[in-house]
Subunit: 301 residues, 2 copies
């Protein structure tokens, strides 16, 4: 490699830093130490003969040259990622559509959202990945995912151009087996005082809203379980181990699949689901379909 050739490893680190907005976060995402990134970044700047970042307080800000570099790097690594995928998936006829879904999103909702992209005219090969919200956003940034469906919108980070599209906002009720319903339906919500409850984990935005709701109603129910995965939560609910929160509008599905009925509404508590994508010149055609499907479910409520 000639000395004046671009060092693509350095460029990759630069790209990560630019998108994450800080060396520290980029180092985390790349699984490297900050010194390493800082050093390589310095080498890249020295080689290019100009600064890509300017110190901005205790963090960094892209220079004009940096913006140019970022725009090019974005393209380069997008193509690189496509190459990696093209070679790893062999010669499938169906185009790939990779979606990350956080645990908290009801499987049925995700299913209805995504089922249509499998059918013509798109007929993609759907690749579904579950995982931590932050991890999924990382994969999105690396162009390894086309879309993330989550129960929260994306934090706005500098240069990481994410677009969060609200798919659906639903009111939440507590559901329970018929037995629990018998015990708790009367005098709701005061009947909850001694009721067993299955709740989302604290990392889940819905959990915060439910905790606040319990607070206002001065209720101290017996929290018997916490889950990140909404399906697992409902499976425990099906066994009658506790009341669990779920979208009021999914009453029928929950009755059919989990044998549970609404015990009472959590007034003012709602859950939102978002489709999060990177802003690209050419969006994956399946994204529009998914967004439309989200809108339909919203209208159906």
């Amino acid at each position: 490699m000639r000395p004046d050739d671009l060092n693509y490893r350095h460029l990759l680190y630069f790209w990560a830093v630019a998108k994450e907005g800080s060396i520290t976060r980029a180092a985390e995402r790349l699984g490297l130490s900050v010194q390493t990134i800082s050093t390589q970044l310095g080498q890249l700047e020295r080689q290019l003969g100009q600064a890509l970042f300017a110190p901005q307080g205790r963090s960094l800000k892209l220079t004009e040259a940096g913006r140019t570099a970022l725009a090019h790097a974005e393209q380069i690594f997008q193509i690189g990622e496509r190459l990696r995928q093209a070679l790893s998936e062999g010669t499938h006829t169906r185009p790939r559509f990779a979606v990350g879904v956080t645990d908290a999103v009801p499987k049925l909702f995700a299913f209805r959202l995504l089922e249509s992209v499998l059918r013509p005219p798109l007929a993609v090969r759907l690749e579904c990945i579950e995982g931590e919200f932050e991890h999924l956003l990382g994969e999105l940034a690396l162009n390894r995912l086309d879309l993330v469906v989550a129960d929260r919108s994306a934090p706005q980070r500098a240069n990481l151009k994410l677009h969060s599209h609200l798919l659906c906002n639903v009111g939440i009720s507590l559901f329970g087996s018929t037995e629990l319903h018998k015990r708790c339906a009367g005098n709701f919500p005061h009947s909850l005082a001694a009721a067993p409850l299955l709740l989302p984990a604290r990392s889940n935005p819905l959990r915060g809203a439910i905790d606040a709701w319990l607070e206002t109603h001065e209720l101290r129910p017996d929290i018997v379980g916490e889950f990140t995965d909404s399906a697992l939560l409902k499976t425990f609910g099906r066994a009658g181990l506790g009341l669990f929160p779920a979208p009021a509008s999914m009453r029928e599905d929950i009755a059919a699949q989990f044998g549970a009925v609404p015990v009472g509404p959590l007034q003012g508590v709602s859950e939102s689901w978002y489709a999060i994508a990177t802003q690209r010149r050419v969006q994956h055609p399946a994204i529009a379909i998914v967004q439309a499907a989200g809108g339909k479910q919203l209208a159906g409520d």
Copy 2:
């Protein structure tokens, strides 16, 4: 860097090998040893999990996966090169147009070919590079040049998609100072038997044609100098040190600039100039202008 990330250095070497058609040539161009390239290529294939090349006799042939990889690599390194240039040239308003010109091309011809791109509507910043034919083709392959003007067309190498456009074909005469003209113009070409001659170097295609012409006429003139640079050759000619070959149609220019007049035509000897470009989706707009300018000079002859 994650272990399953693309190694862009390896990809660069693969790209060079694919375009050059052999590891040996790629190693030469990159200034590395064959073992190095071979090793890295092997690593890339192992990491991707499939062969990019298949042995074909004692050389290599792209596999289907290799063709996919090449197409992507081509884009990646083209963008990388644009980035390098965008950053090195700062914020010029004029778009860059980089042309390689081999020594053998008369400067005046090159000038007439290229002058129009400096003027509106294109108004590019012209970057002229002289050098060995092979070296210039290398720069072209690396996308560091947009066009090469040379006295020969490009050899057809596998995967190195070059397009040679014939600009001009001109008949050659021998020119000389008025003094030499006096000595040699009578009884041409037999008068050449004892005449001092300034000729292009043996690497030049025109030289082959001239040698053949001398052979057929059974002439053994006194070759006093060999030059790769046609301008330097003519400068010696101007000093009266020998007769020199030049396009018959440039008579007036040569009289004005080098004080030399035609002594006699080399029947059947001609020189061609070519504009050589890589085949891209979007050609540099200046290339069309240059090709048109070449056509005009041809018409004028």
